[in-house]
Symmetry: C2
Subunit: 240 residues, 2 copies
DNA sequence: TAGTGGTCTAGACCACTAC
DNA sequence: TAGTGGTCTAGACCACTAT
């Protein structure tokens, strides 16, 4: 490899390997050479190779697996999520013909946080349901969502968790309402370690945090949710 | 420090230092101890300390400066950008009382890319202006935007670049039109090295890419732009 | 058992800053 | 000149996978 001034070795190596993936020299869903092999190829220390791999991992090109090797990611077009007042996860995915499912990771009842009180216009003493939902696209975990309902809005919610597969389906069939999005706040960041673990990504892969307030069709707030979405699997379209 | 099982040293150290910043033990806009000092404090190798610092840097807590030390970032509330069909950068910032400015980094005329043709409904042979604009908030570079206009829409645009400070101000005063946003696509990722350099951030700090199509109030497309925004300085609000 | 990636130690040299 | 962060080398030990 030609060493250029003012260039950093590990970034050059990452660039070089990415180019080989792009060009087809390394085949998709195959593995790149092992760290030791790359050390020999580029005549550098393993530390440098590992930095290069970290960069590629964060960019979403490869996924290292302990004991096996470093797999090249299937190049997936990120899911395009159309955001409007009517948008819900399931329908968005179905519209794009993308296989998807949801899993209820955890649920609890309790008191709302200050943040939740403000958004849902709640008294701090009102009981709420708090759910943790993991959403899969193509059998890959794409997002974790924490979602909060006042207990008075969805009394006995826990009775319907058996065989959970779609939150909005559940609301519609048991409570006869369809929440409507009133606002969303986007924010990109790095994941908390806990979320990274659930989403099965390294802690340096960016995520998008989407904070949403949902209302009754009438106008009063019913649901406040915070979704953390793998950024490499997701883009969000807003039309005006 | 208490060493816990199944925890990773550098993440624990990052956690521990962040806690000291939070608690006020390390003062804002001061420096954290030097790498060597931290090595002594935590009884670990410099490599581990550097990983911890990398994590904190990516999370936006500190900024290392060669030869000087590792500065604790002023905790800034991210700028809240309200996205609507009428939104423009300057007005958004002014509404929040945030000091801001824009700088024209580069401009050129040339032929549109395939992408640009599609969005602007252009013939591949039509000439376009392509501008590269750096936007500052509080004297910190917040975003780089590449923006494209068909030449026929803004003939002689280069004559007005002298003393450039606001794109939309320029359009309004010299061409008597106000572009209106028709759609935007959000996507979080890691920056290209070139953008990271311009924005003065490490290449592992996430950015938000906002791709926008702007129309004439009448309806026909006039401007296609792609902004890369520091995620730690920015959140985006959409109301329905 | 051999090979892979994950973590950590030890130490070198550089560029930049402060004095 | 001394101290700081930036990059790289060399090598250890671990956990996991394949055989």
């Amino acid at each position: 490899m030609k060493v250029q001034d003012e260039a950093i070795l590990h970034l050059q190596i990452a660039e070089s390997i990415i180019e080989k993936i792009r060009s087809g020299e390394y085949l998709e869903s195959d593995k790149i050479p092992s760290e030791n092999e790359l050390c020999r190829q580029f005549h550098v220390n393993r530390h440098v190779v590992r930095q290069a791999i970290a960069r590629m991992t964060n960019l979403g090109w490869v996924t290292p697996v302990q004991g096996k090797g470093c797999y090249i990611n299937r190049i997936m077009k990120p899911v395009q999520y159309v955001l409007s007042s009517q948008t819900r996860f399931s329908e968005n995915m179905s519209n794009q013909g993308v296989p998807h499912k949801s899993k209820l990771l955890h649920w609890e009842t309790g008191l709302p946080s200050e943040e939740e009180c403000i958004h849902l216009e709640l008294d701090p003493s009102e009981t709420i349901y708090r759910l943790e939902i993991l959403r899969y696209v193509d059998n890959t975990p794409m997002s974790v969502t924490t979602t909060v309902f006042p207990k008075t809005e969805v009394p006995g919610l826990e009775n319907y968790f058996e065989g959970f597969h779609s939150l909005y389906g559940l609301l519609e069939s048991h409570y006869q309402f369809r929440p409507v999005r009133s606002k969303s706040i986007f924010h990109a960041s790095l994941p908390y370690l806990k979320d990274a673990k659930v989403l099965n990504i390294p802690e340096s892969v960016p995520i998008v945090q989407i904070e949403s307030l949902m209302n009754h069709p009438g106008g009063s707030p019913v649901e406040y949710s915070v979704a953390r979405v793998r950024s490499d699997m997701h883009r969000c379209l807003i039309e005006f």
